[in-house]
């Protein structure tokens, strides 16, 4: 409804102030949400693709204030029935999240509770006025079951494929395997950051924010968002291709270190600028109608019927909801307080392996220490060992939130499993601890034999999540439950590569190396973690 069509307000409907009691009650609701919500934010903070979320919280708050500022005639007359329903839904979601240890449900519950609070205080019209803020907040709610990681994998594969074709076009010989691009003398790893996922979500969120701020119509905001996706993906494809070109031609590396970080920031700004530019293009294509057409609807005073129905809700209901949320919040605090532990060891940790172990000799100068702030398993120590004609890579990677299935990383690099299995006992330290082995092949042609295991900070070896018998929702719930309770994991892997399938003797030699190395690593880890604690 527009200003021109406003019916005359009823004489008795003067502006009403906030219902302060309602605001107080709803603050209690928010306190009930806090324990799981804080865990939710902590989880977001560990996901590089969502680390822009504080900006979105600020943006959503600003948009809400901005929209409220435009409605000086607004009455704060709540729709308590709808508000109660929304709060009940939020309560249920929070209860499920607490029960099954699902942090993302904490975020969703808070979102619904916020909508319920808004409805309680200001009715549907206030909710509608604040809709842009709510839509913006949706961008920081990750999909359940870490589906965003699956999207990241698809994006990464697509980015590698498109960059490869572009490099062919540019006449730069290369070969892509999984998320790696090899050019003469160099190997470029395409991480999530290069795939565009990190900037993708941020650019979409900022586009939404700008669209709402500029008060663009919905179709234009959707168009801008779709085009911003295209810009981000192409920008990252160009980044990879340009990086490969510069290394090949000028030996200048922009795909690692601070140059990579800086370039990511520049690309983000470029994508935002292109989106703003596209907005101008859309304005040229289809100019805005005269101002009156776009004026936001005046919030009408509520009809006496509606006002009465809102006032009809007894006050004890509000107190009941508040008490229920507080109790659930207390339960949530008790239940989730010690879960999703953070790692004791970071960049300062040091690991070293002996020069000779189980008949293998360490290659001098082969040690590498890698820090990758953008990926899971940020830190890696890598060594090369030789035993006669055999050469093996030994790597320690950490931290991981629970057992890390290394096989998926190798699959993403183009390897195909030939044989795999698990052995040993879970939650045991020492030689009897759990480990996994896998034989792989890829069309280069190459063969590999991999041994790996994950241990906790006490040096106990973890087993993979044994969920083969579960499926669907049950599997997802159990997986989340186990992940929440799992300790931080530290991984050891030993890899033998060659152009012929490894023989029994090769495997035996590698096993001996693995067992010796992993026990040494676990002992060093437990010592350092204990010192930190």
């Amino acid at each position: 409804m527009t200003a021109n069509a406003s019916p005359p307000p009823s004489p008795g409907s003067a502006r009403r102030p906030f219902d302060r009691v309602a605001v107080g009650l709803l603050l209690l609701v928010c306190i009930g949400e806090l324990p799981l919500l804080l865990k939710f934010f902590a989880d977001l903070w560990t996901r590089p693709q969502y680390d822009f979320f504080p900006l979105i919280l600020i943006g959503a708050s600003y948009l809400a204030w901005d929209r409220l500022r435009d409605q000086p005639g607004m009455e704060f007359q709540g729709r308590r029935l709808l508000g109660t329903l929304l709060l009940a839904a939020a309560f249920l979601t929070l209860a499920l999240g607490t029960l099954f240890l699902l942090r993302w449900l904490g975020g969703i519950s808070a979102w619904i509770a916020l909508a319920g609070c808004v409805c309680w205080i200001g009715g549907v019209k206030l909710l509608r006025a604040l809709a842009p803020s709510f839509v913006l907040l949706v961008t920081i709610l990750p999909p359940p079951g870490r589906k965003d990681e699956a999207i990241a994998l698809i994006l990464r594969q697509w980015a590698v494929w498109a960059s490869g074709r572009l490099l062919d076009l540019m006449g730069i010989p290369h070969v892509s395997t999984g998320s790696l691009i090899n050019i003469a003398g160099h190997r470029l790893g395409v991480e999530d950051a290069c795939s565009g996922l990190h900037s993708l979500l941020a650019v979409v969120a900022v586009t939404l924010m700008l669209g709402f701020y500029w008060r663009r119509p919905a179709w234009r905001i959707v168009t801008l968002m779709c085009c911003s996706l295209v810009f981000v993906v192409w920008a990252n494809v160009l980044r990879i291709s340009l990086g490969a070109y510069l290394i090949e031609t000028w030996k200048f590396d922009i795909l690692s270190g601070s140059a990579h970080e800086l370039l990511g920031l520049v690309l983000f700004m470029v994508c935002i600028a292109l989106t703003a530019s596209l907005d101008q293009f859309l304005v040229l294509l289809r100019p805005e109608r005269p101002e009156s057409q776009n004026t936001p609807a005046v919030l009408q005073p509520r009809s006496s019927k509606a006002t009465n129905s809102a006032a009809g809700m007894p006050n004890w209901m509000g107190w009941g909801i508040a008490v229920a949320f507080i109790l659930l919040g207390a339960f949530a605090q008790v239940r989730v307080a010690g879960l999703w532990a953070s790692p004791s060891l970071g960049a300062a940790a040091k690991f070293s392996l002996p020069a000779a172990v189980a008949g293998w000799q360490r290659v001098d100068g082969s040690e590498q220490v890698i820090g990758r702030p953008e990926v899971l398993g940020q830190y890696s120590f890598i060594w090369t060992y030789r035993n006669g004609p055999r050469s093996a890579l030994v790597a320690c990677d950490y931290p991981f939130p629970g057992y890390h299935e290394l096989a998926t990383c190798y699959l993403a690099s183009g390897w195909q499993p030939v044989n795999s299995g698990h052995a040993g006992s879970a939650d045991q330290a020492g030689p009897a601890g759990a480990y996994s082995e896998m034989e792989m092949q890829r069309p280069s042609p190459a063969f590999a034999y991999l041994l790996y295991g994950c241990c906790d900070e006490q040096g106990r070896w973890l087993a993979p999540e044994s969920l083969e018998t579960q499926s669907g929702l049950r599997l997802a719930l159990q997986l989340s439950y186990e992940r929440a309770r799992a300790p931080q994991a530290y991984q050891v892997q030993v890899l033998l590569q060659g152009y012929k399938p490894p023989g029994d003797e090769d495997k035996q030699q590698l096993r001996q190396l693995f067992f010796a190395v992993r026990d040494d690593f676990a002992a060093q880890l437990a010592r350092q973690a204990e010192a930190v604690r």
Binding site: L169, V175, C227, W234, P445, Y499
Partner: protein, 219 residues
């Protein structure tokens, strides 16, 4: 507007188009197009590149890689050759020529162990294997400074395998003749020389240099 009412609530402030509210009154169409130009260029170039990429012919790309790989081998740019052959292998994994080229390029960059493993795959004890790889391996074995009877036997096995696949392979016959001459198996040596046509006057000059110097005892 509807009729004015004395009890009318305050009208909302009208700030619907923030960018245009400030700029629209003054900015000319030229400046608007200028502002829109980067997005137009980006969209058009994205679409163009996408179209070119999608319509690339895989056959042409592979042919180009083949050419670059061969040139790199000639120029002893083995690192480039490794990448090219790896690419050819990833696209045509069944072609042993690519595997052979890859093995040679690996040897060129000093990855001897991997090269030997690959050549071993191409010259299996059972099965035909890849003829150029067998000839190459046989030649390498014979080129040892002091070939033993074992290396000669391995070379012989490879060459005999070649003859099973290509009975008239001149190079294999010539090298076998060389081996038998070394071992003073003159009947076999003569047989293979005849098969490769070395005893024909027109090819004598090409084949005989492959023969080892005759042992003193035979003079």
């Amino acid at each position: 507007m509807s009729g004015a009412s004395p009890a009318k609530p305050p009208a909302p402030r009208r700030r619907p188009q923030r960018v245009e509210a400030g700029a629209a009154a003054h900015a000319s169409v030229f400046w608007r197009w200028l502002a829109a130009a980067p997005a137009i260029v980006a969209l058009v170039s994205s679409l163009t590149i996408a179209a070119v990429i999608v319509t690339q012919s895989p056959g042409e790309v592979l042919h180009w890689y083949q050419t670059v790989a061969e040139r790199a081998m000639r120029n002893r740019d083995y690192q480039l050759a490794v990448v090219c052959y790896q690419r050819l292998l990833s696209d045509e994994p069944e072609d042993p020529a690519n595997e052979f080229g890859f093995a040679l390029s690996l040897a060129g960059v000093g990855r001897q162990r991997e090269a030997i493993e690959l050549l071993a795959r191409l010259t299996p004890d059972q099965g035909p294997g890849y003829v150029p790889a067998r000839l190459f391996v046989a030649q390498q074995l014979l080129d040892f400074k002091s070939p033993t009877s074992e290396t000669r036997a391995r070379a012989e096995r490879n060459l005999l395998r070649v003859l099973e696949i290509e009975p008239m392979n001149e190079t294999a016959h010539a090298r076998l003749a060389a081996i038998y001459a070394e071992e003073e198996k003159w009947d076999l040596c003569r047989y293979h020389l005849e098969r490769c046509g070395a005893l024909r006057r027109e090819v004598e000059g090409r084949i005989l240099p492959l023969m080892p110097p005759r042992p003193a005892a035979a003079n």
